[in-house]
Amino acid sequence: MTRAARAALPALALLASGCAQTFDATKLGIPAQMSAAAPVTPGQPAVEGVRFAVGGKAVHAFWGLFTLSQPKLDQALAAQLVGGGEVRELRIRSRLRFWDIVATGLTLGVLAPRSVTYDGVVVGGNPPPQVPVGPTAAPALPQPAPSPQP
């Protein structure tokens, strides 16, 4: 194998893995369905419940090769899901925002954050408080007492 080909292989592997982001439904921490039943009458929402949209950062290591942390839905919706509620019509959007790119560049790709938004409908359980809807109103996930910055 030539030197150029040997150098290209890891680069290709990085490109292929860096773009792939997987979400495991069993690791979201809550019962969730990605799809919903068809509406009974046209124009009616498919699922009765309260819509939510929560945002957070997924942090990957080494240009996206490993996932270090992912925003967890169970923390954001803990209060709403106490009474056996579940999430329907879950949509997950992962976007590379400007400051995600800057953070990746500043850390030379060692840390590569992505902005993730979950939105869907909470069905059953405790009635949730007013949760802002829409990607622009997506609140940050409540942080579980972060460690201080030394």
Partner: protein, 248 residues
């Protein structure tokens, strides 16, 4: 010499250690300049402000130039001397391994310091102990990123290289303590001062026993890391840990 030993020795050498820290300096200064006002005003890392204020107080604008000359010139001399001694050899893979090692240290730091804090204080859940208020966490993400990079570079320079070094030297010179005792006392005292530093100034955190203890333990761990693995890896581990906290 095994490959691991060779890497361990090379990564501590000035040509790798200082050149490895250089992107932190450039990224921090560039981001601080981009986020600051036209006259250079704006938020900066506290250790950076403290170091530069000292030189600014001594010689005004000229003092700042002396600081930059000492930082870049001093570092440059050490790098060139080491490069000459090694036959001008630099390997890219050493830098890559140093990046990987820094991330491992950054990830371990939170776990080890958190566990030790919980053991030391006992009783209270860790989340309650660490729930501080205010401080850098209230700033927007770009500013937090900038402060985090500055923390890696300037806090390590101020608290590990200068403060712990000066305290150890003073303990040996004034009290005639053996080097090991002077080193331990300097490390612990330096860590306490490092922790206290985070509660001073307009952006200082609200003082909590838990977060103070966590930071003091982190200070001791960073000192140990600096002694064993050198400046570059310690600076990057500190910066990456702070960036991780900023991104959470």
């Amino acid at each position: 010499m095994s490959r691991l030993e060779a890497y361990g020795r090379a990564s501590r050498a000035p040509r790798y250690s200082l050149l490895f820290a250089l992107p932190l300096l450039l990224a921090y200064e560039a981001l601080a300049a981009a986020l600051g006002g036209p006259g250079g005003e704006g938020i900066r890392n506290g250790a950076d402000v403290l170091l530069k204020s000292l030189f600014l107080g001594l010689g005004g604008e000229r003092g700042l130039r002396v600081f930059a000359l000492l930082l870049l010139g001093g570092g440059g001399v050490l790098v060139v001397r080491d490069l000459r001694a090694s036959g001008w050899r630099l390997e890219a893979r050493v830098f890559l391994l140093m990046l990987a090692e820094s991330l491992v240290h950054a990830l371990l730091l939170g776990v080890v310091a958190g566990w030790l804090t919980a053991r030391l204080l006992g009783g209270l859940p860790l989340a309650t102990m660490l729930a501080g208020g205010g401080g850098v966490a209230t700033l927007d993400l770009p500013t937090q990123l900038m402060v985090s990079l500055g923390a890696g570079l300037y806090e390590e320079l101020l608290f590990r290289v200068l403060l712990v070094g000066a305290l150890a030297w003073a303990a040996r010179a004034l009290f005639r303590w053996p080097p090991a005792v002077a080193g331990v006392v300097a490390t612990v005292l330096g860590a306490v001062i490092f922790s206290a530093f985070h509660y001073v100034g307009p952006l200082g955190d609200r003082l909590e026993v838990g977060s103070f203890t966590f930071r003091a333990i982190a200070g001791v761990l960073f000192s140990a890391l600096y002694l064993v693995r050198g400046f570059g890896i310690t600076a990057w581990a500190h910066a990456l840990y702070d960036v991780l906290i900023a991104l959470r």
